[in-house]
């Protein structure tokens, strides 16, 4: 030692204790120290620089979590006082309850400058609570919390016995997981190991859990369906809106349609929705825009093809269509048909072919295919097969084809041209 311990500062005593860990062994990196306490002697004279992080007070614990994920073999030692603990309590509790590998040296409020009360140093290095606060506030007792949280290792050491402090830090670092050492200057507190709990360190357990997934990862990189990159067809921008209420399969219809055009036709396509709340019954709508050129605005504010499956949807959207646009309305749901609407009993067809009104979206897709050259029946068939459970493909295909046929029949029979 190049100084008299009796006149050493708290920093000197702590760093000396930590530096005795430098020769931990070939399989471990030297310790990393994290602290936001002031007045660290820079650089620490007479020895190689420590790996030292001076993060924002209290945040060092969270910072150490990331550091430990990256450097599992480097012992992380945090030096904190009451203020840092107060700011970092949330982080401390979470690190402790997850048993993330790090060692906290928690300086009790009475720990000040020297091990033995040198006056000058005391004034310079007061890390504890201000004197008036020490009178009216009790010292923090996080040792009790972390014991209650089953921290891997909880102990207490005194600055009056630096060799014992160093030995205890060594023991804490070797414990697997979150460890805390209360550092005190009082002689009458119980010292040594206070509690130990054996359970797996968080990231060790995480890596163990993740190992089987890594084989999957190699095959999944760059996943996604292969699709046609470019169609030779020239399709002008086509805006499709399907609108009804939750439970009619509107969102799924949008996904099937946009992927049929985008991946199977090799066109550009977007899908944007306002699916309302997750519960059934609220308004739900999807916009799909398809074209040969990349789609800019993804809204179908002025649809070329509009399918309305509820009275509200008809009232809201029928007025905003482009001139000469096509409008399909389900008479059973919409009631009075908007002018020019092609009546297709969408929901009834859904029930007929699948037994469920949720296939209304599939029927709607058949209507869209009958009214627009933006997507072919064949692409829709492929996309449906990719998006509904295998056992339900035939029924959903039948629902879509029924929508197509009904729309064609209505077109041939009515004055909608």
């Amino acid at each position: 030692m190049s100084y008299d311990r009796a006149f050493a500062t708290t920093w000197q005593l702590l760093l000396d204790a930590i530096c005795t860990l430098m020769g931990l062994g070939a399989d471990r990196d030297p310790p990393v120290v994290l602290s936001s306490l002031p007045d660290l002697p820079y650089p620490v004279k007479g020895r190689a620089p420590l790996s030292f992080i001076q993060g924002p007070p209290g945040r060092n614990i969270a910072l150490a979590i990331g550091l430990h994920a990256a450097l599992p073999k480097a012992p992380l030692i945090l030096i904190m006082n009451a203020d840092s603990v107060t700011l970092g309590t949330n982080h401390l509790i979470h690190a402790a309850r997850r048993n993330i590998g790090m060692t906290l040296l928690l300086l009790r409020s009475e720990v000040t400058a020297t091990a033995d009360g040198d006056g000058d140093s005391l004034d310079r290095m007061r890390w504890g609570l201000p004197a008036y606060q020490q009178i009216i506030e009790t010292a923090p007792t996080p040792l009790d919390w972390v014991s209650a949280l089953d921290a891997a290792f909880v102990g207490r050491a005194s600055l009056r016995d630096p060799d014992h402090l160093a030995a205890l830090i060594h023991e804490a670092v070797e414990a697997s997981g979150f460890s805390v050492i209360g550092v005190t200057a009082e002689a009458d507190l119980q010292l040594g190991v206070l509690s130990r709990t054996e359970w797996p360190e968080y990231f060790t357990a995480y890596r163990e859990w993740a190992r089987p997934f890594q084989q999957v990862g190699k095959t999944v990189l760059g996943k996604g369906k292969s699709g046609l990159h470019k169609s030779s067809r020239n399709v002008p921008r086509c805006e499709v809106r399907i609108a009804g209420f939750g439970g009619q399969g509107v969102k799924l219809a949008g996904t099937v349609l946009s992927e049929a055009a985008g991946l199977h036709e090799g066109l550009w396509a977007t899908q944007r929705g306002d699916y309302g709340s997750a519960t059934r019954g609220g308004p739900s709508m999807v916009d799909v825009v398809i074209g040969s050129d990349p789609i800019t605005y993804a809204g179908a504010d002025h649809p070329d093809v509009l399918v309305v499956l509820s009275r509200g949807a008809a009232q809201r959207y029928a007025g905003a269509m482009k001139p000469h646009a096509r409008l399909v309305a389900d008479p059973g749901e919409v009631g009075a048909l908007p002018p020019g609407a092609i009546p297709v009993p969408v929901t009834a067809l859904a029930r007929e072919h699948t037994g469920k009104p949720i296939a209304a979206g599939m029927v709607s897709l058949g209507c869209v295919a009958a009214l627009s050259n933006a997507v072919s029946l064949e692409s829709l068939r492929q996309s449906i097969a990719e998006h509904v459970p295998r056992g339900a493909v035939a029924k959903n295909l039948a629902a879509m084809e029924a929508g197509y046929a009904a729309t064609r029949r209505a077109l041939e029979g009515g004055a909608y041209a």
């Binding site: 001076q54 550091l67 994920a69 369906k225 985008g262």
Partner: protein
């Protein structure tokens, strides 16, 4: 051969992060960014990386800084309320020059605001959210494809310039599904931080040379050094010496500004003969591009400037444009944050007006045209 895929912007950003080499994610899920956390919680373990859900966004930001110091490319994702909580540690990353990526999918604020609705109200927060003058990079995608590409670029810039990079998304793009082509891994340029070419004894973790950044050693792994949020010298030790602090400022202000040609990206559409120009970014630029198509069909000479790098702002481009056009219209889903920049740069040479809304609804091409037509 790349693959065509259908995905939303959040998924593309997550896949972009993976492709860029991100192997650590710490976050706290929040709408409308939650899918990024959800997807990475599955993708990272596949790639040998680590996903951790933290107690809050303060801790998330701290954890990605720690992991990055430990040598892992790291990211977090959030929305406005979480982005506010990240500002303290974001400043620490700026000060200590630690690469990391923050994806902010904006929603209407302040406070919890409109959780599920689209907005672009965090533009100035991305620039000035943490206290003190500081350099920062923010990128803003307008398409799902671009969300992927800019996620990769965010990591590249962050590694190259040792700086946090913000991928500033909006729900228009984050929640939009469209076709993307995911390049094969070999087709992408991936930049890794430079590691020290010198032995530990000669290593300086910071370099205050103009326009340069120091190599970044994996922390505590052979190289021992000091990292602090305090003003520091090239060894990382705190200092109050005004001369050293001046050198630090010189370094910090030039490390990005001397490389604007590598950082700035923007796109121009039909600006050559334009009499009126739109300046739009992110999801709003899609409506602006459509407005240009509609206006041109009516014989109106409208063009579009779309900043892709939002910070640093492409100032010279706007200055030049203001000399050529009569009017500039800036549509954005806020009350006029980039409009201030455009006004400042136009310096009275072109009239600048905004199309603004912060009610959760997207700006439509019609609203833009209405303003353009006057």
């Amino acid at each position: 051969m790349s693959k065509a895929s259908f995905m939303h912007g959040n998924e593309a950003a997550a896949e972009g992060a993976i492709a860029a080499g991100c192997r650590f994610y710490a976050g706290y899920p929040i709408t409308p960014s939650s899918e990024i956390a959800e997807i990475l919680s599955g993708r990272l373990p596949e790639m040998g990386g680590v996903f951790i859900q933290m107690e809050d966004e303060i801790a998330s930001m701290a954890a990605i800084i720690g992991a990055s110091l430990g040598g892992l490319k790291s990211a977090t994702a959030t929305s406005g309320p979480g982005f506010s909580l990240m500002q303290e540690n974001l400043g620490f990353a700026v000060m200590s020059e630690i690469p990391c990526v923050i994806i902010n999918v904006q929603r209407v604020g302040p406070s919890t605001g409109l959780p599920t609705k689209a907005a672009q109200g965090d533009v100035m927060q991305a620039r000035w959210g943490t206290h003190g003058d500081h350099p920062i990079i923010a990128l803003t995608p307008s398409s799902v494809q671009e969300a992927f590409m800019l996620a990769v670029r965010a990591f590249n810039l962050s590694e190259q310039f040792r700086t946090p990079v913000i991928l500033l998304m909006d729900a228009v793009v984050a929640q939009l599904k469209e076709k993307v082509e995911i390049p094969d891994p070999g087709e992408l340029t991936i930049i890794h931080r430079i590691t020290p070419p010198v032995p530990p004894r000669e290593y300086k973790p910071f370099a205050f040379k103009r326009g340069e950044v120091a190599p970044l050693a994996v922390f505590g792994h052979g190289y021992r050094y000091h990292v602090t949020g305090l003003m520091h010298n090239e060894y990382g030790y705190p200092t109050e010496d005004p001369e050293v602090v001046s050198q630090w400022w010189e370094h910090m202000t030039t490390k990005l500004n001397d490389h604007l040609d590598e950082i700035l990206q923007w796109e121009e559409a039909q600006l050559d003969d334009a009499e009126i120009a739109l300046v739009a970014y992110g999801g709003t630029a899609r409506a602006a591009a459509h407005a240009v198509t509609l206006a041109r069909a009516q014989g109106l000479k409208l063009g579009l400037l779309r900043p892709i790098t939002l910070w640093p702002f492409p100032e010279a481009v706007v200055r030049r444009m203001a000399e050529r056009v009569q009017r500039i219209v800036v549509p954005e889903m806020n009350l006029g944050q980039i409009r201030y920049e455009v006004e400042r740069l136009s310096a009275g040479k072109a009239a600048v007006e905004g199309v603004n809304r912060a009610d959760g609804l997207q700006i439509t091409p019609e609203q833009i045209l209405e303003k353009v037509m006057g």
